[in-house]
Symmetry: C2
Subunit: 379 residues, 2 copies
Amino acid sequence: MSDRTVHTAEWAERALAEAAHHEPASREEQVLERIERARRRRPKITEERVTLAHGAGGKASRTLIEAVFVEAFRNPVLQPLDDGATLDLGTGRLVFTTDAYVVSPLFFPGGDIGDLAVNGTVNDLAVCGARPMYLSAAFVLEEGFPLADLRRITASMADAAERAGVKVVTGDTKVVQRGKADGCYVTTAGVGALERPVTLGESQVRPGDAVIVSGPIGEHGITVLIARGDLDIEADLTSDTAPLHDAVAALLDAVPVRMMRDATRGGVATVLNEVARGAGVAVTVDERALPVRPIVSGACELLGLDPLYVACEGRFVAVVDGDHAEAAVTALRRHPVGEGAAVVGRIEPGPPGMVLLNTAFGGTRIVDLLVGDPLPRIC
Amino acid sequence: MSDRTVHTAEWAERALAEAAHHEPASREEQVLERIERARRRRPKITEERVTLAHGAGGKASRTLIEAVFVEAFRNPVLQPLDDGATLDLGTGRLVFTTDAYVVSPLFFPGGDIGDLAVNGTVNDLAVCGARPMYLSAAFVLEEGFPLADLRRITASMADAAERAGVKVVTGDTKVVQRGKADGCYVTTAGVGALERPVTLGESQVRPGDAVIVSGPIGEHGITVLIARGDLDIEADLTSDTAPLHDAVAALLDAVPVRMMRDATRGGVATVLNEVARGAGVAVTVDERALPVRPIVSGACELLGLDPLYVACEGRFVAVVDGDHAEAAVTALRRHPVGEGAAVVGRIEPGPPGMVLLNTAFGGTRIVDLLVGDPLPRIC
């Protein structure tokens, strides 16, 4: 993280020095200065209580993570805030990751909380470059939860584990009184082996790299939202929940990959902001290149949502060497989960920390981290 | 597990053959036959909904685990149902474990959900013979939960991690609406290295071994119960929550250890039943040897509880070579968490699966797995 910080600070200093020569400062320069000031501030939570926004993956989540969790657990393994932690155990490198699943409803077209909990953790291991191997599963059950539903969930976990080639090897169950949970929450953790000699992460990203999305976006989020039944929409749509490890391995074999992240809570927009901020670069995205099925863009229009922010559970964003962008897409398209892969954008030197969308209408707009949570409990 | 089953079946066959020579069958023989019949039956859940008893660590928990989780995730690593799973990664052996924490209240004398979540997972790794190294932490937060409380919890997790020499390296946070949780649930998973060439487990237990408890029992459970404030009891008692890895390492260095388990939910009685059933042996316990502080036995009497079933969070049960029982206690007593260690019982060949308590009054009673849950949400 310190490398990036230096990089960004230098960039800002240059920008400010240049600005001093061209008084009055341009709007862009003023914006940059504001960004830099914000970056130098320690993250600080102004709220006194947890809000749904703290769980949404956007700005509030980031502040909560940095001000509370990183502050408390400060250590170099945690610091990169990747999808998983890379552990060097002397005898070999492992990736270790965890996610809690609280999706509502528990069952939805194309999946349920069970396969979500397996695929999500498998995917976090995969995008860190590891071969997913072992999972743990901890359940918090609400008193009165139907055992038939629990069996259905564990059966779909077992199926998902089989498909992903992982084993659920340890677990725990707690039961809380009625009204102290919402049926069933599942937390999985995963361990995978880092067998490839590749180094992945935001620190590897550089201007000229290409940004790839592995398939049509937003299908999981919209499916869950419609499954809640309080919208007057019907759509023939299923969740994209799927294990990504095979497609990820194919990509790693085919081209030089800088980093990957699965686009879950907060969607592709949130991943791209993490890339831009983490790497101290800008990401430009071509709206016309974004793979979005008409049924998803239609539902998003009706709901006032931007598909860029809607969660996927079987899609990932990859930053690859710009010269190998087409080879990357070709490699991904050989896999069912990567059939709709597309080059959607490019890494630029600056303005650092910014994601810029070139819209279908010829304009450019900033794609920022979300402040609120339009879609609570989507995963 | 199959070894044990064979052992038990042979034992029962002998018992039944002997019984045939001495008609009518004695009461003990009838009991044994009933036990054997029950053992041969597949676990079956008769309830249609989850009850608090399913989370209590007793009979219902065991049935839930065997009928639902083991049934779904069936694999040889999960099968022993130990506190952690031992993973052979080619390059070295690891232990991987997880636990969900739902204790109520979140803060109690001597600790809170935070250090409980760290110590609990550290202890699960330690009693599996591993050096605890890395933890993950996943939070399910209720909308409206005070951030000051979250900071207090993460601070005590950080302190506990520091004391245990582990790092929290990855995590996740989800937020659910008001009324869908109870403030804060924490799930930790842990990874530790198996560096000693020792094999631990119920399969190592044999008649003549000694049963050791590492310190006075029941303090955590009674402390939490009193902290709930709906009893008219005041007691100067604090939770025993503590990391056990140092005491465990000292024990492993000192004597031949067969198996260890921390006595959390369900208390020492539940661990002893797991030993008896898992190893196909009997465990006899001397009530007068059990370390119980007068304040705990007094509170238990008032509450109608048996301290043998009350959760500890910083105590473990060890089965060691019978010839080294005193050396084991001496090694443990050198550590603050083991100061009150005592030899409390002995492994006998049969009746297999039974825990028998020689009471202070000279009688003998069966200590069975609990059916209900007298103490929900104690950890």
